[in-house]
Symmetry: C2
Subunit: 322 residues, 2 copies
């Protein structure tokens, strides 16, 4: 059985986008439902998702574990898995880890770009690693079954998380630094240790993470995949596109600035290019999975390897969550 | 004019304690009104303080700036200044700094013992210094007039705060490490830099910060003061007793564990001695200021120096807050 999984999207959700994901053949999507929200704000977001799930129940449903990916495949739907890009919903309360899991959360980043109560983000000057509270939270996430996601975290914090966690962790959306030297991309050393500990890397299609950004060529992306396989092996790679379809630029401004600064910060953008970047032509939306398929094939990847990267590896990773 | 100021108390407040402070001749007390509370919980604590202030308005009132210390002295009352031992009430929102100031907050620790969103606490393994959000908050605290208090912070974070802040900072309650090697006490290097930047150290009378703990001798304390003056000069030293009168042991448990851990932590205590420690006999409550006065005199301090340490230095520091 082969699966297609996009393990990170943060779109301005609508029926149109769910249909695109279905047309793309996606059996599962991990969707970001929180950036900076606290617990009560997370509950509000859940209500909006209840509505979306109800109104589109013919093509999507809330996924709880890997069996729902099989169910989605057999019913020709897409299973939606909830995740957070920051740990803000658990606030300073270890008891909330279990609560957010009960509400469907299956992935949680220990940090967004800044320092959190749990670990250091990749935009900080210094990285002190996983904190006292972070150690407690990792233990609890392992216990209840929430994946530790370190996509936006700094390196020492990520290595600490790999070390402390009793279960494999994930970097759901990032690329290797050797290919494109963005702050968000990851070192060879880190990727090697991640894969040695059965952790997953979801390759990102977000232009700031791509060589030549919006002008990135499919061939270049596929070559990067081949070089990453040399470091990590074939079984620990997937896709986490980081698609932000139909989001207004005010959203990326909020993602970067939240409520933590009075002065406007541009994150991966710049004063001249403050908004969301344009997607490369071969990955305008999830239907780009088909281009990835043909691109990888053209580059010499075998059928089985392509299926591993485009979904089967994530499927197997989901099996280990609980 | 001479003042008596205790720049840190966290008592289980009652009329009895306000009377003791008045009998001790205290013109001002900086009281902790928050440990782990978020903004809404802080507002609840404020309501309790409104009640206390109303019911005891013949002997206490809320202080806003140094002029209220003069007012207290002339009216034979004690001015109460509010402070936080953690930054939890501002949550992740820079706008709340101005709000908490409007509600009377004049001191805020950037961290309690653990990592916060602003800086690293002294119980963490690694110290990454002041964070991105921390820099923004320090700027805002400087602007509105809240003192940066680093009593429970780690060393690099404290040095960063001294460096970043445009106004002198304070360590409201701690002692020098050379005298008693507690995690919470401060290095000579740090104390020197603090005083060179016009920052204040409030000497603590909390047994875990004292040589021989509850058995600490007044003579030993006064000798420590003399040695600290050699490092910091006479003008940057005050008292921050850290008195926790009438608090039940459940409170120190909550201070240490908050909601961040499922396993019980003992902080400065231990499994065998989990509760509040017994005060030394010469400082059972604020009336111990009189023992400090005579002890310092006996040790050879001059009248003016004693008045500096027991209140005048804090008074002058308050002058610079706004």
């Amino acid at each position: 059985m082969n699966y297609r999984i996009d393990n990170l999207q943060y779109c301005n959700w609508s029926r149109e986008i769910f249909e695109i994901n279905k047309d793309a053949g996606l059996n599962a999507v991990h969707v970001t439902i929180v950036y900076h929200e606290d617990y009560n704000e997370f509950l509000k977001n859940l209500k909006e998702w209840d509505k979306l799930l109800n109104e589109n129940s013919d093509i999507i449903f809330l996924g709880k574990n890997y069996k729902d990916i099989d169910k989605a495949k057999s019913e020709n739907k897409t299973a939606i898995f909830f995740g957070f890009q920051n740990c803000s919903p658990i606030e300073d309360n270890i008891q909330l880890v279990e609560k957010v899991h009960e509400h469907g959360c299956r992935f949680m980043q220990l940090t967004y770009n800044n320092q959190s109560l749990l670990a250091t983000g990749c935009y900080e000057k210094n990285d002190s690693g996983v904190t006292n509270f972070g150690r407690e939270v990792i233990k609890e996430m392992n216990r209840v079954g929430i994946v530790i996601d370190m996509s936006h975290s700094a390196e020492k914090s990520t290595l600490d998380a790999i070390d402390i966690s009793q279960k494999p962790i994930a970097i759901t959306h990032a690329n290797p630094y050797f290919w494109h030297s963005a702050k968000r991309n990851k070192s060879k050393k880190l990727l090697k240790i991640l894969s040695e500990n059965e952790g997953m890397l979801g390759l990102s299609l977000y232009p700031h993470h791509l060589k030549n950004n919006s002008e990135c060529k499919l061939e270049s992306f596929c070559e990067m995949v081949a070089r990453t396989v040399e470091i990590m092996g074939i079984k620990n790679l997937g896709i986490g596109s980081d698609l932000c379809l139909n989001q207004p630029n005010s959203v990326v401004e909020w993602m970067r600035n939240g409520t933590w600064t009075k002065e406007k910060k541009y994150g991966e953008g710049s004063k001249d290019k403050p908004g969301f970047p344009r997607q490369p032509e071969w990955f305008l939306d999830a239907r780009g999975f088909k281009n990835l398929d043909s691109g990888l094939r053209k580059f010499g990847f075998k059928e089985e390897e392509i299926n591993d990267i485009l979904g089967n590896n994530w499927y197997n990773f989901y099996k280990g969550i609980n």
